[in-house]
């Protein structure tokens, strides 16, 4: 089922792509492709983290607020202490993200509060904290050190560092989910929590683990976002959590947990990325972009629902 889903999604993306490229050949040029991928890279990284969380039957609504808070923090550090070397700055972004993720994870694990409630709360808290640390001020590109801004644009083999990070994230997550016991336990925990307990998987712990991993990616993306758009303010990435969740859902990650593939998520992100970058070329308004991605979500949901069999009733009679 998931491979059919992925094939359909890839086909849809390709049709869209070809349709646009037919009118705007520059969209299909190497440079155009690279730009589109670069523009989708942050979405890919965040969707990978969100996917892990969703696999365990949880959800993270606070992810965009985590991006904003870490992004603001590293921007402020860079402004105040331009001498701090980039590796330390990136590392601290990842660490701060891990802490924010751990707060979500521990609340879900130890207090057994539903993830949607926990992250709805932390969404507001993290966003509020972003305002507190900055005092509502903007950090503009002029306040940032040149290397802070240029690092994400550094190119190797034609691709930006940002693009390479997205590729590395995809490979790493795929390996983790396929070849590590911890990764497999995420599927088990989300697919059947009761049975997972019977075979010795601690469901809460698996959820917490997913939140921390997701937090690390969100923290990393905090720096990437601020550097790429060369500005930090309280409203960074506002509402972006819904785009991230949409990419996962379009990519076939089940909201009920236990199923989803890295390939699907990647395709989901690319689909949204193509829509976002192609439709403006056709002078289609951003509202139509939202309508298109919404229609795709609903269509995918309807197709999935049709594919799911009625709940199994026990067979009693013999023939």
């Amino acid at each position: 089922m998931s491979s059919r889903h992925n094939a359909a999604l890839a086909l849809l993306t390709a049709i869209l792509f070809v349709a646009v490229a037919a009118r705007y050949p520059q969209f299909a040029s190497a440079a155009g492709l690279r730009d589109t991928f670069d523009d989708t890279s942050i979405l890919i990284l965040l969707a990978l983290g969100q996917m892990l969380v969703m696999l365990t039957r949880a959800i993270d609504l606070s992810v965009a607020a985590s991006v904003a808070l870490t992004g603001m923090c590293v921007a402020l550090i860079n402004q105040a202490m331009p001498g701090v070397a980039m590796p330390w700055l990136v590392l601290s972004a990842a660490l701060l993200g891990a802490v924010l993720g751990a707060v979500n994870g521990l609340l879900v694990w130890q207090l057994q509060i539903p993830p949607i409630v926990v992250t709805l709360g932390t969404l507001a808290i993290y966003r509020g904290a972003t305002y507190l640390v900055s005092g509502g001020r903007w950090v503009n590109s002029g306040d940032m050190s040149p290397v802070f801004l240029s690092l994400v644009r550094e190119r190797w083999g034609g691709l930006t560092l940002l693009s390479w990070l997205a590729i590395a994230g995809v490979l790493l997550t795929a390996c983790l989910l396929r070849y590590s016991a911890a990764g497999r336990s995420l599927y088990a925990a989300g697919n059947n929590p009761e049975a997972a307990r019977y075979v010795g998987v601690d469901v809460g712990r698996a959820q917490c683990l997913a939140f921390v991993f997701n937090g690390v990616l969100a923290g990393l993306c905090g720096y990437l976002w601020v550097a790429r758009y060369a500005v930090a303010y309280t409203g960074i990435a506002s509402g972006f959590e819904l785009t991230v969740i949409a990419a996962c859902v379009i990519g076939g990650v089940s909201i009920a947990g236990g199923s989803g593939t890295v390939l699907g998520v990647l395709l989901g992100c690319l689909f949204l990325g193509v829509i976002k970058n192609a439709l403006p070329l056709l002078a289609v308004s951003p509202f139509w972009q939202m309508a298109v991605s919404g229609a795709v979500i609903v269509t995918a949901a309807v197709l999935n629902a049709a594919g799911v069999r009625a709940p199994q009733r026990q067979r009693i009679l013999e023939n």
């Binding site: 088990a188 997972a196 067979r315 009693i316 009679l317 013999e318």
Partner: protein, 501 residues
């Protein structure tokens, strides 16, 4: 090394003096049990005899209050399901504990995935899984997802899991209950194979035919104690039933003599694919019709069709000699048929809602004027009913979940009584409630039939069915096994009808 191995005649597992209570109720009382390598022991007993508590103790889900467990000659404390597995004790649960979205191979090795350099070795996992499934005569593709498998295949995957960690004791809980005859035969062959490899098996089942086909020994549980045991050859179904039932069941239940009126409900030749076939019965005013059967006999499924939750494919349902076709529970409710389902937490009640909301739920239309609920009248009526049913509560707005099981059940009954049912279907109405509430429910049933209601009582508790019913309909695997009059319905006859081949 050889000192660790128990001698041939020593039991692999020995329980001595195991007791376990939950709250005030004794689930197990000084249980003695010995299981031997290379031998299949049948465990039989009525519902509530303590079999499932025993299984939960053997798998480390519950800890015994008293007593000693000896495994392989050593005294052990089984701490958790994972620990039980390490020791070599595997349970195959009645409802498959599997992962629908994972492959056959991964479901088998979910506790111990083979690794290579720390990474999961999928190729080896598939190979080993394929080999295990072949050993079970079920050469499934190890890459298939569990959701695409049949009930029987899912059960086999669990057996393969037990084999994968080389379990020395395999406990099978009602393994054949959900299987077709052919599948059950296959499973019995596999069980015999496991025994021949030198494993100990504990086989829990209500199907005597299966037990006689493969078990070497039997143990009978009754009221939390082991009351009889012996070798399977040389014993008979009658002996087993006698031990299970023990005494002749005293008529503990106050049966009111009510003059029976005309027939209200008639079900004729009702069938639904895979669930039940050719069931006919009638129930009269003032009558309690008991419906008995083993777990999975199709009793609830039959009642769900009468109530319109599912649709029967052939046959007819008549109310006052006029045919009705309930397509939806609302149709049945409008015809004054009520159904109190077995699963109170999920189907019978909404535990997070208040007592008054729960009572009013099925008859809100009574309290509604121009689309708005008349709160005052609702509160008054609901309060009256809660009192009439002797519900113990602090106030009507407290959530139902705060009440005891017995009081919750009274609230559920009040809800249905408020719809003024003429036919009341009760599915396991006293399951999991305390003795006092149980007696109250039984007394209320007596009152209702006196007032001319017809009651269908579905119950797995033999004394309850025998004590309260005017007639008993016995079901077996989706079909009618017989209808017995009160005078001819005794425990042995009913049990034999319910379980005989």
């Amino acid at each position: 090394m050889s000192n660790d191995e128990p001698s041939v005649n020593a039991p692999l597992l020995q329980l001595s003096g195991i007791s376990k209570s939950f709250g005030g109720t004794r689930a197990l009382e000084s249980v003695e049990l010995a299981l031997y390598a290379g031998s299949i022991t049948a465990l039989v007993g009525e519902n509530g005899a303590g079999k499932s508590t025993l299984v939960k103790i053997l798998t480390g889900i519950h800890q015994p209050d008293r007593g000693r467990i000896t495994f392989c000659g050593k005294s052990v404390r089984i701490r958790s399901p994972a620990h039980a597995q390490q020791l070599g004790i595997s349970v195959i649960h009645q409802e498959a504990v599997v992962f629908d979205e994972l492959s056959v191979a991964e479901n088998i090795f979910v506790t111990a995935r083979p690794r290579h350099w720390g990474l999961i070795d999928w190729a080896r996992m598939r190979r080993d899984a394929g080999r295990l499934m072949e050993r079970l005569d079920c050469p499934l593709d190890p890459g298939l997802l569990l959701r695409d498998l049949s009930v029987a295949q899912r059960y086999l995957v669990q057996i393969a899991r037990a084999l994968s960690h080389d379990a020395r004791l395999v406990i099978m809980d009602e393994p054949t209950a959900a299987l077709s005859h052919h599948e059950a035969q296959l499973l019995l062959r596999i069980a015999a194979g496991l025994r021949d490899e030198g494993r100990a098996l504990l086989f829990i089942s209500h199907r005597f035919e299966d037990l006689f086909a493969i078990a070497d020994r039997y143990v009978v549980f009754r009221d939390g104690r082991n009351v009889a045991e012996g070798l399977m050859p040389g014993t008979s179904v009658d002996t087993l039933i006698q031990s299970m039932v023990g005494r002749a069941i005293a008529r503990l239940y106050p049966k009111r003599s009510v003059a029976l009126g005309e027939e209200i409900l008639r079900v004729q030749d009702l069938s639904r694919a895979e669930e039940f076939a050719h069931v006919s019965f009638g129930v009269r005013r003032g009558e309690i019709l008991g419906v008995y059967g083993l777990v999975g006999a199709g009793r609830s499924e039959l009642m769900q069709s009468v109530f319109g939750l599912t649709r029967a494919e052939s046959g007819s349902i008549e109310l006052d000699r006029a045919q009705i076709r309930p397509r939806h529970p609302a149709d049945a409710i409008a015809q004054h048929i009520a159904y109190v389902p077995e699963d109170r937490q999920h189907q019978g009640a909404i535990p997070s809602l208040s007592i008054s909301s729960n009572i009013a739920l099925a008859s809100l239309a009574q309290f509604t004027r121009h689309g708005w609920v008349d709160g005052e009248r609702l509160t008054r009526t609901v309060g009256e009913w809660a009192q009439r049913m002797q519900v113990k509560y602090a106030n009507l707005e407290q959530p139902l979940s705060e009440l005891s099981g017995g009081n919750q059940q009274k609230v559920v009954l009040a809800k249905w009584l408020l719809t003024a049912p003429r036919v009341l279907i009760l599915d396991e109405p006293t399951k999991g409630i305390d003795v006092g509430s149980k007696a109250a429910v039984h007394a209320l049933m007596g009152e209702w039939v006196e007032q001319g209601m017809a009651i269908i009582l579905v119950s797995s508790e033999l004394p309850e069915v025998l004590g309260l019913s005017d007639r008993v309909l016995v079901m077996r695997r989706g079909r009618m096994a017989g209808v017995l009059d009160r005078t001819e319905a005794d425990a042995a006859t009913v049990l034999r009808l319910a379980s005989a081949a």
